[in-house]
């Protein structure tokens, strides 16, 4: 496999960016780095880049992300204090060198290797479950039925914590969602988005984020048609249009726990992206954790 290694030597480094406080602007500059490619899932990545300070309350989430990057993996803390003893810290504006060094690193795993629930050898087949739906087969219980808010079919409700580093959500926002299919049935904001400063509300940055979710680049010629793709009546078109004209949006959203239920996943994600991070932060309670 030596020829494969030789070929791979000059490959771009796949980086998963966990965006912290004031990290949005930083991450945008990363797209211009040569030899570095931002990816949307830690599974595709080689290096975990923490861009901006992350509170120690979310160190656990960061450790989980770190664990989900297939080994060997490296870590870079860019303008962020280290929350665990892996990787190196970068103070300046250019993490390029550190990323290249991290691409040769091999961080050891730090989370204990235990399943979410003990299951091995339990139950009649040793898979941890019993009966049709009972127990913890392979370490987790199965989803159970619950009422639905749209069509009234009582099918399974899936509850999970999304964020704080899901690239589709504003960085820092932690949502406890219950979903039926791809429709959100109930939502709670466990933690507000990180402060991004005035540059986080900059129209070009906000528009680019929203357009990326719609699968197109930020070039203006494309963007006009993008307005047509958004659903009518939710204000998303109006806000994106304002950003594309270069105006700052000052609208405040309804709190996510009220506004998200009933929305389909893509709509919900676009809706969240259609508000500036500072406004979204203002309507999410700080103390709930």
């Amino acid at each position: 496999m030596s020829w494969l290694s030789t070929l791979a030597h000059d490959a771009e480094i796949a980086v998963f960016a966990a965006v912290g406080q004031h990290g949005l602007g930083l991450t945008e500059t990363l797209g211009r780095q040569r030899g570095v490619r931002l990816v949307s899932s830690p599974r595709h990545a080689r290096v975990l880049l923490v861009a901006g300070e992350v509170e120690s309350a979310q160190a656990r989430a960061l450790e989980r992300l770190h664990a989900q990057i297939p080994p060997p993996r490296g870590t870079v803390w860019w303008q962020a204090p280290r929350l665990f003893e892996r990787g190196e810290t970068v103070i300046g504006d250019d993490p390029g060198e550190a990323i290249r060094r991290a691409a040769g690193a091999d961080d050891p795993e730090q989370r204990p290797d235990v399943p979410p629930h003990p299951w091995r050898g339990m139950g009649p087949h040793g898979q941890g479950g019993h009966g049709m739906m009972g127990g913890n087969p392979y370490g987790r219980p199965m989803a159970m039925t619950a009422d639905d808010i749209r069509d009234g079919l009582t099918l399974d409700a899936y509850s999970a914590r999304f964020g704080p580093f899901l690239p589709a959500l504003p960085p820092g926002l932690v949502l406890d969602l219950t979903m039926q299919g791809d429709v959100i049935v109930s939502a709670a904001a466990a933690s507000p988005p990180y402060p991004q400063g005035p540059e986080g509300d900059a129209p070009t940055l906000c528009a680019a984020r929203m357009l990326r979710l719609m699968g197109i680049g930020p070039r203006a010629a494309h963007a006009r048609g993008a307005l047509m793709a958004l659903p009518k009546g939710s204000g998303m078109r109006r806000r994106l249009a304002a950003w594309l004209r270069g105006e700052t949006v000052t609208e405040s959203p309804a709190p996510p726990p009220n506004a998200l239920p009933g929305r389909e996943w893509a709509e919900a994600v676009l809706w969240l992206a259609s508000f500036p991070p500072s406004r979204l932060r203002a309507v999410c309670p700080e103390e709930a954790a």
Binding site: M1, L4, S5, L7, A8, H9, D10, A11, E12, A14, R34, R37, V39, S40, S41, R43, H44, R46, P70, P71, P115, P116, P137, Y138, G139, R140, Y158, A160, L166, P167, A168, M179, G181, D182, L211, R212, L213, M214, G215, I216, G217, H222, G225, A226, M228, A229, L230, P231, E264, W265, A266, E267, V269, L270
Partner: protein, 297 residues
Amino acid sequence: MIAATFALLLSLPLLVWVAAMFDRIGAGRGRVVMAPLQNGAALLLRPNTETEAPDQLNRLLAPGWYLALALVGLSVVPFAPGVVASDIATGLVLWGACEALTVVVVFLHGWSPNSPLPLIGAYRYVAIGLPAMLLSMFVLIGAALPAQSLSVAEVVEAQRDLWNVVRQPLGLPLFMALGLAITLRGPFDFAEGAELAGGASAEESGPALAAWRFARAAMLVAFSAMAATAFLGGYLGPVLPGPAWLLLKTLAVMAAAVAAGRFFARMPPARMLTFLWVVLLPLSFANLALVGVEALP
């Protein structure tokens, strides 16, 4: 027939490489020629990812089936008069079956990791992939009308006087919608969109991801060759030999598909579903009616 199969197997990796180059140009990234190979090699050297209680077998086979469908779809495309890997009399139907099975394969790819984001991607894709396939069938039946046959070779021969793209102007744009859907790109990429952080492929890494991306690019090649054959006259053309014409037209369709994927924004799936049934499907009816009137003796 054997020769055509070998030609197909030899040219496919190169065309996949070219498809990856087009994608890099579309994304506005440098190092167009070598980066796809280097990134692919880097992926091959990474480990696969196991998830909690996945459907191992389907997870392993999904990229293989995807590639298989691309190859089978490509096998009905004639490279020159009489030179085709699979000379089946119902080539258009076989291509349609490949489209239908693509929806199944993408669903399996998203289903098997047992993870929420891939799962949502898989289900959304089925909602959009099925009607998009219906659309393409009406369009391809339009292409079969003047040929009076379901054989792809006959469809090409029927374009000796006039290419279908002129005779049926609505056909190629509508067929492109299907192409974007089965190659998971741009406005029809409901399986792997950014709002799902990679969706159906979010849990894949290493060689499994490389195999899936290879198959996806191979499907783009197969689709482009089919579109070039059904609407742009396939191997027909002056001066140059037939296979060269087919290659040029395939590359043109490929470039157009990549550009369209970067140009059109993706709607939320519910909106796209309505758009497909209420706008695009009636348009394909209209296309068929126009073709029908035009084809009457």
